[in-house]
Symmetry: C2
Subunit: 140 residues, 2 copies
């Protein structure tokens, strides 16, 4: 059983760290249809002033959502998600997602998390993150 | 040039409709690592009361983000995105994303959009959608 049943404001989400490789970015480009060269062509990325290729913001947000889903006990627990795309995540960076419960509403059975994600080079990649998780699957 | 330079509250985003096939859901499962059988195994999906396999919520949100990015003139324009996952989108459904500008802040150069996505069977798939778009790339 997940910790969701007994959540309180101030509870900390289990952090999730994940290395994001160029192969994963390529797979995401394929799945999403977004083949912008800043994601898949290192030479192009450098030509526009980036230190290298960058992950799609939605790939970063997907990892943040996965962090919430794993901690909450399944993706069906995630009622909503959102964030600001603040800094790019580079291919080869490790992203670490953290979160804290800021509010628990027993009716309608929702806990609100504040979230962010940082890279191992110290960049705050995703900020102003927010998710609602369902405390009780049967009401979803 | 996109319409972003002259946005006003009440402006309507160009809608985006997209058929979501099982092949796309399979590709997203591969890219995300989320192989939950409700997404990829029709028999299993029916056994838990669904009419068929369903798209990952993050795939739906990715399409909504793409709708915003295309209309705004590029994914680098999308400063933030979020939504509620309200109803599942089934494989073979067409999702239609719509949005309206609700606020334009010249400083710091952000337009706020209200968004939603519906399926061709009439389900409100994504609700409470919200995005911020950057009016001026140079300030991002």
């Amino acid at each position: 059983m997940s910790a969701v049943g007994t959540l309180r404001a101030g509870d900390v989400m289990t952090p999730l760290s994940r290395l994001v490789t160029q192969a994963q970015i390529d797979a995401y480009a394929e799945a999403s249809g977004d083949h912008n060269p800043i994601h898949v062509d290192e030479e192009f990325a450098r030509s526009v002033g980036l230190p290298g290729t960058i992950a799609h913001g939605m790939l970063d947000l997907g990892i943040l959502t996965d962090a919430v889903a794993r901690w909450a006990g399944g993706s069906d627990r995630v009622a909503s998600i959102g964030c600001r795309f603040s800094k790019p995540l580079l291919a080869g960076d490790t992203i670490t997602c953290t979160g804290t419960v800021v509010e628990v509403d027993e009716e309608p059975g929702i806990a609100v998390l504040s979230l962010e994600a940082v890279s191992d080079r110290g960049d705050r990649v995703l900020t102003h993150g927010r998710a609602e998780i369902r405390l009780d699957r049967s009401r979803s």
